[in-house]
């Protein structure tokens, strides 16, 4: 009995902190999403609007849909690209793979950089006057040097994706190396003797056994891609125009720049739904009993 009570007392501080910093703001933002909530006007949050903020976003606001489109595209491309490249690298670097040694330690380096820093450094690298890429292209493929990467809507998006993939590959590669290392070598050797080509060994033996780890990688990366903000903020600031404006960026701008707290809270809540779904899936894969 005493132990039981003590258990609750011990976790109480943690619960209070989570409530104060996560649950309460969440509920408060939900409340605000139903108000006028303009920071620039007196008597904030100026009374309730019902569902009007939501219907406004869905019915009247192309900028909202633009950011949804950007976010979905961005998430799909970065998740798939990062996972594929990380899987390929992991296959090369895993025990028994073709590459090994010091390369692994080098790998972690980009992940040690903050997303904002990655954003800034990519912005510099693509700077038309003194950027690394322009210098590089200037020598190797001169026509490409003329391109002003960050002022073209499509290319700016491509650069954002590149920066994100570059920043995430190391970590996901390490996770996948761990996953590959936990696959019994026996099963792979048995398949080789049974007559399977390398491709079939990968498809029939390695991949199915990697599924739990792969699922975690995909979901985790999807969560992080969905909420991308700081990197985009530093790299393109959503531009040119709104070509790289993700939902997070749109929410931030509506709320902080234009002072529409109520409206941006409602858009934020639209984003909460897929997030909760992914988090739920993630928890299921991480904590499932095998």
């Amino acid at each position: 009995m005493r132990d039981n009570k003590l258990k609750y007392i011990l976790v109480l501080p943690a619960i209070i902190v989570v409530f104060a910093t996560a649950v309460w703001p969440l509920i408060e933002s939900l409340r605000l999403s139903f108000t006028v909530g303009r920071l620039t006007k007196p008597n904030f949050p100026q009374g309730y609007l019902g569902w009007e903020n939501y219907t406004w976003a869905f019915m009247e606001e192309p900028a909202f849909w633009n950011s949804v489109e950007v976010t979905v595209l961005y998430t799909l491309i970065t998740v798939i690209l990062t996972t594929l490249i990380a899987l390929g690298l992991a296959m090369l670097l895993a025990p028994g793979g073709r590459l090994r040694g010091g390369v692994q330690t080098l790998l972690i380096l980009p992940f040690a950089m903050s997303p904002a820093l990655i954003g800034v450094s990519f912005r510099f690298m693509f700077n038309p006057e003194f950027g690394l890429f322009d210098a590089f292209f200037g020598v190797v493929i001169p026509p490409l040097a003329e391109i002003s990467w960050l002022s073209d809507p499509t290319l700016a998006f491509v650069v954002c994706v590149m920066a994100d993939v570059w920043g995430w590959i190391p970590f996901l590669t390490l996770v996948l190396i761990g996953g590959l290392a936990s696959i019994p070598q026996d099963t792979i050797e048995a398949a080789q003797v049974d007559g399977a080509s390398s491709w079939r060994v990968f498809k029939d033996i390695t991949l199915p056994q990697l599924v739990p780890v792969l699922a975690v990688v995909l979901i985790l990366k999807a969560i992080f891609s969905l909420k991308t903000f700081d990197q985009i903020y530093m790299l393109t600031n959503g531009g040119p125009g709104t070509a790289t404006q993700t939902l997070s960026h749109y929410i931030y701008f509506s709320g902080m720049k234009y002072g529409q707290i109520g409206y941006s809270a409602s858009v934020a809540w639209v984003m909460v739904i897929p997030m909760i779904l992914l988090t739920f899936l993630y928890a299921r894969y991480v904590f499932q009993k095998r």
Binding site: A191, D194, G195, D204, Q209
Partner: protein, 352 residues
Amino acid sequence: MAQVLLKNITKRWGDFVGVDNQSLAVADKEFLVLLGPSGCGKTTTMRMIAGLEEPTSGEIWIGDHVVNDDLPKDRDVAMVFQNYGLYPHMTIYDNIAYPLKVRGTPKADIKPRVEKAAEQVELTEFLHRKPKALSGGQRQRVALARAIVRTPKVFLMDEPLSNLDAKLRVTMRAELKHLSRQLQITTVYVTHDQIEAMTLADRVAVMEKGVIRQLGTPDEIYNDPSNLFVAGFIGSPAMNLINGSVKDGYFITTGGTRLVKVDGGDRAKVILGVRAEDVDIHESGQGDIDVLVYAYENTGESVMLTLQFGKQRIIAKGDRHLRKDMDDVVGLRVNPDHLYLFDSETEERIRY
């Protein structure tokens, strides 16, 4: 059709020598057993034949060409792994069917063959389960079924019966022997169980520390060991090995007891080998020497006596009706027709 040939095979990891410059010819359709204590290089040898381990030097032949550069999948061998190597995400059925599927066997052929293999290892009722839901012995039988479902050039079996209970082991042993005769497929079989080696093998290769110490039929290995290691390793109980010398036609133990008549000239340092069944027990005074019973064990089919004279102990196998007790005095006579002499230095057999 498919002989297996190892020519001067060496496997080294850094300074450690796993297999040391060994040559071995396994004839077509032969059942060859690699026998030896743990860590002697049996699995390593087998993995090199399968192509899972690359020999440091030497050539491996399967059939009539060198396979050193062939991938495992191209060597057309079927292997039972010492720790099974089952596919955990597939059902038992799919595990057994995998080698057929991957080699493009027509779908209609797969089912009957999988079912037949499963039946041969008594697994029919588990086909829909995953390996996780089987016992160690059952898993081992899945590994066996996965090998015999196909007709490869060579079977490689690494202790395929080690985890079965005594009764099943005997049935499986008979099943395997029958199968290998029936299929007529060259087989290399690893075990450290002598009975398995003796009953299954056409020939046995006894290994020690990466070296084949003797290669011969089970009969030769048992009755004509060519060195001290093979003599001591084969047989249960182990052969009695007694230090001493030969003088004036008799073997004298280091303790000074004149034990048995031995032909050939005088020799200073030798080891006498004599099997427990070649030590006869008589009533006190009726043997060559009188000895003390140190321990008496009745195994049911026979009795084992550990006998002591001076500091020397010797194990004798007696008739199952013989009843003795500790500290009884009995007469001992060593049968002079089945003796083995070994050089103490080289540990090689002295033939006289």
